[in-house]
């Protein structure tokens, strides 16, 4: 890798966009999982009362 390349900005942008997009979609999946688990537990504990 030539760190002085004039196209380094484009390469960095492509890797940055990839990282952010994949991290965002993974975060969204796990956030939804946590939310659903919380709702399910809340509902089940309510049913138990």
């Amino acid at each position: 890798m030539d760190w002085t390349s004039p196209h380094l900005g484009f390469v960095s942008a492509a890797y940055g966009v990839s990282l952010i997009t994949l991290a965002a979609i993974a975060f969204a999946v796990f956030l939804r999982r946590a939310s659903l688990k919380r709702h399910l537990q809340k509902f089940e504990s309510k049913q138990g009362d």
């Binding site: 492509a14 997009t21 796990f30």
Partner: protein, 241 residues
């Protein structure tokens, strides 16, 4: 095998057993793939360092196509066999496929500016990929537009099955039309036309993207099963009042 996975609890048990290994393999493949892409592979004699964008662009484009085919197969299975998890699999795959498709378009555009001198051209490959993105968004919108999941599923299956016609158009657009986008250099009848020093990081990144999809898809399917369980439990409790 399909019948074995028809039971959501059995499916979840299998998914939980697979996921730790799949996450470990994903991390390993990304580490090796990124090392190969950034440090080990050479610069291209024409493209220079911008060739490194290929290692994130091409696997994303492959996954964009692969996930849509998977959705179409799952929709066909749901339609023909009434498999209880087929719709779940298709619905859970859609946002992941849309993300990969977006990545293919975005990284392709970033590559296009220094190489073609423009961010975007309406050539056959780029346009058909953009149509694929719209199909993903339409599919997701259908699931969100209906309160009744059965009605949403019926329409979503049709969109997934009709939309799959776009996949060969994307793949062969570079052969059928005169495009600015270069023709296939890896998946072709005469074998890859790419040097092994560039091929191995590309294939490793493709495996990493596929494993990441597997991990996220299994987790998203688990979410969907939980969501359905919660919805059914709420409906039952309302009916019982």
């Amino acid at each position: 095998m399909i019948q074995v996975l028809a039971n959501p609890n059995r499916f979840l048990k299998i998914a939980h057993a697979i996921l730790p290994f799949a996450w470990a393999a994903t991390a390993l493949c990304f580490a090796v793939g990124l090392y190969g892409a950034i440090f080990a592979s050479p610069a291209d004699y024409q493209q220079g360092e911008t060739v490194r964008i290929m290692y994130v662009h091409v696997p994303a484009a492959w996954m964009g196509l692969f996930v849509y085919v998977l959705m179409a197969i799952a929709s066909a299975v749901a339609l023909i066999f009434r498999h209880p998890l087929a719709d779940v699999a298709a619905k859970a795959a859609a946002p992941l496929g849309a993300a990969y498709c977006f990545l293919a378009l975005a990284t392709g555009s970033i590559w296009g500016k220094p190489m073609w001198g423009t961010w975007w051209v309406w050539d056959a490959r780029l346009t058909s990929m953009f149509v694929l993105m719209l199909l993903y968004l339409g599919y997701i919108a259908i699931w969100r537009s209906f309160d009744d999941p059965h009605r949403a599923a019926s329409l979503a299956r049709v969109v997934a099955l009709v939309g799959v016609i776009n996949i060969p158009i994307v793949k062969f657009s570079v052969d059928w039309w005169n495009t600015l986008h270069q023709p296939a250099s890896v998946v072709k009848m005469s074998g890859p036309a790419i040097d092994p020093s560039m091929l191995w990081p590309l294939l490793t990144m493709a495996v990493a993207y596929t494993l990441l999809f597997l991990c996220l898809h299994l987790t998203a399917m688990e979410n969907e099963i939980m969501d359905r369980k919660l919805r059914n439990s709420r409906l039952k409790s309302i009916e019982a009042r």
